[in-house]
């Protein structure tokens, strides 16, 4: 019986039960967002109604949600696997740029490969570029003790300028462009479009598959066991023979490659060129996705889709009601702040209570008051 239980995939209901504070936090975040909308002079029910219509009016509008979920799914997993092993990967933005650069270099060369091969080559090069980029903060964290958050954020800025340089002053830059961009990509590298007349490419589904793969990887493989052990107790992991430094670099590189894949997919699936500053906020949104999901890949699936609804619907909301489209990123941030704000302290006291009666919960709180 026990074995059977571990093989069960958690259902959505299960997630809601165990992740009660996430759901509560999101509700509070949406309410707080509504208050802000109200302050800006718009009826929040109208605004949220427009948002929902924007996301669910018809299949075409829902494809929009899916397209937007693609980088969040991949980036979210990239961050989540870091969270599971105790690393904060805040460099998804930079990794996406590197993935885009890799894709741009390959796909502007017109190698004349068959589409499937060409796309795979783009993936490969994009992930390789990002992986090498990610190895730098990974190495610095593991072997030099440099804080990975500061380091990856600095590298994001460097990646932005690197991309700007590539799309303005290199042979693959579009000459005399009104906005800095690369030459158009070869047709063969375009990701297949699934519904004619929309931009729904296979990217989101790659993201969903990756989520499932990582769920399996974390739970059912020795690699996942090692990763979780490192996240929970690095000292015990070291003592059990885990080379924690190498593992850190590996996790960072995997996270980077996922970010790179996200960037590649954005470029060859949606934009078909590499643009200057084409990643907007996705890096930090990925952190939000992973965090609301509690680092769980299935949770990433749910929260990435949720945030995509906010983002895709947010555009419609901006057009229909005049609320700024920045409002959706504000709502995302509010949701996360409420999720962590509602969650952390209670979770801790609950486990403390369980752990040892002696650990003494309530009494000290009274004192603090």
């Amino acid at each position: 019986m026990g074995e059977k239980k571990t093989l069960n995939l958690p259902l959505i209901g299960n997630i809601i039960l165990t992740k009660g504070h996430s759901v509560l936090g999101i509700i509070l975040g949406i309410i707080a967002g509504g208050i802000l909308i109200l302050i800006s002079g718009v009826n929040p029910f109208d605004a949220y109604g427009a948002m929902l219509r924007g996301a669910f009016r018809n299949w075409a509008s829902f494809t929009n949600v899916l397209v937007r979920s693609s980088p969040l799914l991949l980036g979210g997993i990239g961050v989540a696997i870091g969270i599971k092993s105790g690393l904060w990967n805040t460099g998804i933005e930079g990794f996406m740029y590197l993935g885009g650069i890799g894709a741009a270099i390959v796909s502007t060369m017109n190698l004349g490969l068959p589409p499937v091969l060409y796309v795979l080559l783009c993936f490969l090069v994009g992930m390789l570029f990002a992986g090498v980029w990610g190895a730098i903060p990974g190495y610095l964290k593991a072997y030099r003790g440099v804080n990975e958050v500061t380091c990856t954020i600095m590298m994001n800025y460097i990646a932005v300028y690197l991309t700007n340089w590539i799309v303005t002053s290199t042979p693959i830059a579009q000459p005399e462009a009104f906005y800095p961009m690369s030459l158009p990509f070869a047709q063969a590298t375009y990701l297949p479009i699934l519904t004619q007349g929309t931009s729904l490419h296979i990217g989101p589904f790659i993201g969903i598959v990756v989520c499932l793969v990582f769920y399996f990887l974390l739970k059912y493989t020795s690699f996942g066991f090692r990763t979780r052990m490192l996240g929970y107790n690095p000292i015990a992991a070291r003592y059990a023979g885990v080379n924690s430094k190498r593992q850190m670099v590996i996790i960072m590189v995997i996270g980077a490659m996922l970010g790179g894949l996200a960037g590649t997919i954005e470029c060859i699936g949606l934009r078909h060129r590499l643009y200057m500053e084409y990643v907007t906020n996705v890096g930090y949104e990925s952190v939000a996705v992973a965090l609301v999901a509690g680092g769980n890949p299935i949770g990433v699936l749910v929260s990435a889709l949720f945030f995509s609804i906010l983002k895709a619907g947010g555009a419609t909301m901006a057009i229909e009601t005049g609320v700024s489209s920045s409002m959706s990123s504000i709502i995302i941030a509010l949701c996360v702040l409420f999720v962590v704000g509602v969650g952390v302290a209670d979770e801790k006291s609950a486990s403390a209570r369980k752990r040892k009666a002696k650990a003494a919960a309530a009494a000290k709180k009274e004192v603090a008051e």
């Binding site: 493989t221 690699f223 090692r226 929970y232 000292i235 003592y239 209570r353 009666a357 919960a361 009494a363």
Partner: protein, 503 residues
């Protein structure tokens, strides 16, 4: 009786924690200028009671009287204001600050802009008065543990405390430092101040205290004048049964027994650059328990960690069955290692019991095949271990942090010793366990000996080292002070060696 006679009286103190009654109507009385001993095993409720006194916990019931007046203590600053000084078992000092900064920390009388000169003067005066010498300008982390305790005591005296609480003060002291402490205590009481001395070491309580209150399971078992007490009587009150740990009978180790662990001229420096092991030599043979006695912090941790490969010695060789130790040994059939700190190194507290049982073998068949975990094998292995080592748990699938300390230790022991390693290292394996669990650990180690494993048993409790070891070595400031036969070793001799005397 008139409460005014007491410097401190705690009456009917009750404290409930979810699931346990930590203090059950406890009453203690401490007279002016006297030392009250508070005796009890770990978990008897001593520390909870003192945390209530110091305002860290609030009692559910009960009153506290100081000089006969009822007081309400809601925070440590209240306690300090009422003249209570406390030296916690784990020092509450800020390592990176200097001694004098620690002493004045939180003092409301200090001016906003610090002027440390008069404070230093006052501190030095106290140092001389109580013969507890420390350098006011030294950073605390640079001081030896004994002096850190002086800082704690001086900090309380500086605040002009009327009642000084010492929680297990001698656990970290060398015997000569313990003597200093005794002298200081008698000077403190001579001034009319009172001392509450918490310990589970009977001998000290007999020497130092005037009255003893014995706690067991959160209740007061009795209070007697020390002059009327005997060690045996106190021990019986404390545990409800005789505590003498008998030496385990055994056959002699055969003279031709094969050497398993051979350490030659090993030198280890710890992370602060302190020379933690000095030209250390040791051989442990198959079928033999070698006990390592010594006061905590004399190189025991480094000894265990360099054998298991967690830290690298700066020079010297360590070989296990002829193979040099070069990295972390995670081969469970080679080395079983029960680390000093279960929570930090021995277990992943958020993992389940089943997962904790395989954290060294998760990559190997039958637990993983081609990188895929075999939960069926892991589960049946866990059930087998739970039965074999009598781990009390509701299921193999609960997080190990929900288990009691003794059962957590059993999980560690099951994982480390079940693969029948040729060398066992048990580093303070009984620390923090109740007597029943301690005996269980001793049984396991004796079984390992019978099986033919080489066992290195490190413990700060001399009594258990003498009860279990075939040979005893004594560690003093990183040096091996000498080798004694377990059958004939004399406690007094070992005591001398623990102070650094070569015999």
């Amino acid at each position: 009786m008139d409460n005014k006679a007491y410097a401190l009286k705690m009456q009917g103190i009750t404290k409930r924690f979810p699931g346990t009654l930590a203090n059950d109507h406890i009453t203690i009385e401490c007279e002016h200028g006297k030392v009250l001993g508070l005796l009890g095993e770990n978990g008897a409720g001593k520390t909870t009671l003192m945390n209530i006194l110091y305002g860290l916990f609030r009692p559910d019931e009960g009153q506290i009287f100081i000089d006969g007046e009822e007081v309400e203590i809601q925070s440590p600053s209240d306690a300090i204001n009422h003249g209570i000084g406390m030296v916690h078992q784990h020092f509450k000092l800020v390592d990176t600050l200097t001694v004098i900064e620690n002493v004045v920390l939180g003092l409301p009388t200090m001016k906003q802009v610090l002027d440390l000169a008069p404070a230093k003067e006052k501190l030095l005066k106290l140092c001389h008065e109580y013969e507890l010498f420390v350098d006011p300008d030294a950073e605390v982390w640079r001081l030896p543990v004994g002096q850190q305790q002086w800082v704690e005591i001086l900090k309380a005296l500086y605040r002009d405390c009327k009642v000084l609480v010492l929680d297990e003060p001698t656990a970290v002291l060398t015997p000569s430092e313990s003597n200093n402490l005794c002298r200081a205590i008698s000077k403190i009481t001579a001034q009319g101040k009172s001392v509450i001395f918490i310990s589970h070491k009977l001998r000290e309580v007999m020497e130092i205290t005037d009255n003893v209150t014995v706690l067991r399971d959160g209740k007061v078992i009795g209070t007697i004048a020390t002059k009327d007490a005997t060690q045996l009587k106190l021990a019986e009150m404390m545990v409800g049964r005789a505590v003498e740990i008998e030496r385990r009978p055994r056959a002699k180790v055969p003279a031709d027994s094969e050497p398993v662990l051979v350490m030659k001229d090993v030198n280890v420096y710890d992370e602060r650059g302190v020379h933690a092991l000095k030209n250390f030599n040791l051989t442990v043979h198959a079928g033999e328990i070698v006990g390592v006695a010594g006061i905590d912090g004399n190189g025991q941790r480094e000894l265990a960690e360099c054998i298991s490969g967690l830290i690298k010695p700066q020079s010297g060789t360590i070989e296990i069955k002829g193979k040099p130790v070069t990295g972390v040994i995670s081969d469970p059939s080679f080395l079983g290692f029960i680390p000093e700190d279960r929570h930090k190194t021995g277990l992943v507290l958020d993992f389940t019991v089943a997962e904790n049982l395989i954290i060294k073998e998760y990559m190997k068949a039958p637990f993983a095949k081609k990188g895929i975990l075999q939960y069926k094998e892991i589960g049946s292995h866990a059930n087998e271990m739970i039965d074999k080592f009598h781990v009390k748990t509701s299921s193999k699938d609960v997080a190990v942090k929900t288990l009691s300390g003794g059962n957590q230790q059993k999980v560690v022991i099951a994982r480390e010793l079940n693969p029948e390693p040729i060398l066992d290292i048990a580093s303070q394996p009984t620390r923090g366990l109740d007597l029943g669990a301690v005996m269980g650990v001793h049984d396991v180690l004796m079984q390992e000996r019978e099986r033919g494993a080489a066992v290195l048993f490190i413990s700060a409790e001399l009594q258990e080292v003498m009860a279990l070891s075939d040979r005893i070595i004594v560690l003093y400031s990183g040096e091996n002070m000498g080798d004694l036969d377990g059958d004939t070793a004399d406690q007094a001799v070992i005591g001398q060696m623990m102070l650094g005397k070569r015999i």
